[in-house]
Structure formats: structure tokens, C-alpha cells
């Protein structure tokens, strides 16, 4: 173990050559190491990118929903990108309570108008922004929390009738997916 004083990067050979210009030699070593490192880094990218969603996964990224059968006060859950989407046909009272809120007091300030393209239809991703549980409140018999929206049983987050976070640990409002009304009673999510 006597001859371990040199660090691993400098072999015994690199300083003791007789031939060649030392600056040029060092440049060659540096160029070789740098090119090799760049090559390895670039090679890593295809392997990492292969873990991103594949083309067939992305192609299935939109879902069409017919809203006609959904009664006022009723909620339905549809699947979009493997996640539940809550669609609630809101009653006038629910709309009112969602609109009559002092937005500046909210944890994640957003007006109801910014969250619902048509006030009677609220469309949100049904995943609690805390740790990803599915909140209760889709059935009329479910607990909906004190703001009449949704209640997450995992850690007690409470959402209002606009899907905004009002109490509990969740940091943000329920996410509104991108969607468009194709007709008055049908939407495309995604």
C-alpha cells in the first residue's frame, strides 16, 4: 500500500513521458475524456426518454363525454388519462356559493368563472392535490365537507363547490383539465 499517494485520475505514466510536448499531450487526454463524457451523457438520454409516455399513450389523451343525461345536482365520474374526472351539474345554490367567495381569502385564489367555462358545469380532475387520493362527494350520500364540494377522507382536505381548497393540508385547488364544449351537451376533455 505504499504507492497510493497519487489520486486515481493521474496515473504514474502521465507525468513521466519522454517524448512529445506536454501541453499537447494534456490536451489530447482532456479531449478524449471530455468527448467520452459527452458521449455517455448523450447516450443516457434515449434510455431516460423511453420512460416518458409512449406515442400510443399520448394518442389516447382525450375523452369525449355526453352530458345530456346528467341531471341538475347530479355528478358523474369519467376516466381521462387513467384518472377520474368529476363532472358536476351544479344547482343554482351551488353556483351562488361558489361565486360569493372572497377570492383573496383563499389559499389558492381563483374565481369560479376562471374554473368553469359554463357555470352549471364544473369539470375537475378528481385527485386531491395533497397526496393523490380521490375525494368523496360524487354521490349525494357522500360526506362533502362544510363547503358542499368534496371531502378527502385520507387527510381531511375540504373543497368547495368550485373544487377549490378551503381547509386541510392540500396546497392547491382541484385541477381543471383542458376541455372544450363541442356542443351544448357534449365535451371533449384533453
Amino acid at each position: 500500500m505504499a504507492d497510493t499517494t497519487q489520486t486515481a485520475g493521474h496515473g504514474p505514466g502521465s507525468g513521466s513521458h519522454s517524448g512529445g510536448d506536454p501541453t499537447r499531450r494534456d490536451f489530447i487526454y482532456l479531449a478524449a475524456a471530455a468527448t467520452g463524457v459527452v458521449g455517455a451523457a448523450v447516450t443516457a438520454w434515449p434510455f431516460i426518454d423511453s420512460l416518458n409516455p409512449a406515442a400510443d399513450t399520448l394518442a389516447l389523451a382525450s375523452t369525449d363525454v355526453d352530458l345530456a343525461p346528467v341531471q341538475v345536482g347530479q355528478s358523474i365520474t369519467v376516466t381521462w388519462r387513467g384518472k377520474p374526472v368529476f363532472i358536476r351539474h351544479r344547482t343554482p345554490e351551488e353556483i351562488k356559493s361558489a361565486v360569493d367567495v372572497n377570492v383573496s381569502e383563499l389559499r389558492d385564489p381563483q374565481t369560479d368563472a376562471a374554473r368553469a367555462k359554463k357555470p352549471e358545469w364544473l369539470i375537475v380532475v378528481g385527485i386531491c392535490t395533497h397526496l393523490g387520493c380521490i375525494p368523496l362527494g360524487q354521490k349525494n350520500s357522500d360526506p362533502r365537507g362544510e363547503y358542499g364540494g368534496w371531502f378527502c377522507p385520507c387527510h381531511g382536505s375540504v373543497y368547495d363547490t368550485s373544487g377549490r381548497i378551503r381547509k386541510g393540508p392540500a396546497p392547491r385547488n382541484l385541477e381543471v383539465p383542458s376541455y372544450a364544449f363541442k356542443t351544448d351537451t357534449s365535451i371533449r376533455i384533453g
Binding site: 505514466g13 502521465s14 513521466s16 513521458h17 519522454s18 517524448g19 512529445g20 499537447r24 499531450r25 489530447i28 487526454y29 479531449a31 478524449a32 468527448t35 467520452g36 458521449g39 406515442a55 400510443d56 394518442a59 389516447l60
Partner: protein, 260 residues
Amino acid sequence: MRRLRSLILAGLVAVAAAAPAVASEEMEYPKNEWSHGAVTRGFSNIFGTFDRKALQRGFQVYKEVCSACHSMNLLSYRNLSALGYNEAEITAIAAGYDMTDGPNDEGEMFTRKGVPADHFKAPFPNEKAAAAANGGKAPPDLSLIVKARKGGEDYIVALMTGFEPAPAGFTVPSGGNYNKAFPGHVIAMPPPLSDGGVTYADGTKATVEQQAKDVATFLAWAAEPNLEARHEMGLKVMIFLIVLAGILYAAKRAVWADQH
């Protein structure tokens, strides 16, 4: 080392010299020029790209002729963007097919219009149905046919243009057709292409030969859709590795300078 090299060479030469003497039972197909470089022939055109016009014509031939019997289960309509179709055109093509979907909330299957994410509609609901409708043997799926046959694209062309009257003394069993390119020469498929059998939108004359080449191009793309990306990346990788090898060779010479 030189001696070992000559040893190996001698061994290879001995085997190679013996090889041509073997009776070749495999069929050879006339080789065509492919702008993409034949999928099954290595190193045939390292810069190759698909001829977009031929792809679209080939797709038309598949759609109007082959798809009556042959499925292409591994392809989706969305893949057609690689042929040069835009989103609206693809949506229109997909919408031209009725797809069975379901079950719905009532538990029943229903029919809807195709969307780009759908796989190509198969002519038969399953393989048994395909076999029953075609004299007991299902027509093969064409998604990978170019890679699944010796000769690849050239085989497709030879087969499409290989229908001719059986030579004297060759009896073709009923339900069979004589084809000089098919192994065994008796094929269940009747001649699918005819001069003018399709009308090309771009005005190309639709001879059997033209259709055969177009559909072979299309099927080559279907079997190897990433060929262009592969060729493009390959060039960069090869240049990089050759440069790196050069630098390393210089480094090796520098390191070994005092030892030679």
C-alpha cells in the same frame, strides 16, 4: 498476432469457398432500387428516406385492394402522419371506418366512428373468421410482412407480379393459383392487382408493377416505421464514434510514446 489473423482468415476462406457449392433451394428475387434502402438488406442505403408519394399510393393500394382480406393490426390511423397526411386528413380517413367499442354502461357493444388513435380496422373479427372466409387459412397480417419474409420488399414485388399461367406439366390444385415467386408456387391468393385497378390521385399510371412497388414501399414503412429516425441518428452516432476513436488513438500513441 499477424499469424493468428492469417489463421482466422484461412478458416473463413475455407468455409466461404465451400459455401457456393451447396445446392440453393432458397428463392432469389430480383433486387429493386428503394429510396429508403431495403429494410431487410443491411447497409443498402444508409441515408435512405421513404418516398412519401409512393407511401401514399401504396397506402391507397392497401386500402382499396389488400385490406379486403389482410389486416394490419399493429398500425393505427395516427401513424399515417408519417406518410405526409395532416391531422384533418387522418381524422377523415379514420372516420371512414365504423369501430366496435364497448361495452357501454348498459353492457352492450356499440358502433362508433373511427378516431386516429384506433388501430387499422381488420377485415375479419378474428383469425378463425378470417380462415373460414378464405378456404381454411387466414390471410397473414401485413404489419410486419416485409420483415417476416426473406427478400423483404423485393419479395412483395416479385409475388405481386409473379402470377402467370402454370408451366406445362405443373398441376395447380383447385383453389390455388400459380405464382413463380411463392415458395412451392401454389398460392391461395388470387392475383390481387390489375392494370388500372386503382386510380392514383397524383396521376401516376397504375400498372401492376407500379402498384406492387408502391404497396411494397408502404409495407416496408409499416414494418419499420422508424427507419428514417434510425438512419439519421446512425449518421451522428457513427461520426461521433469515429471522432472519439481518432482522439483515443492519438491519446494511446501519446501514452505509449515512451514504450515503443
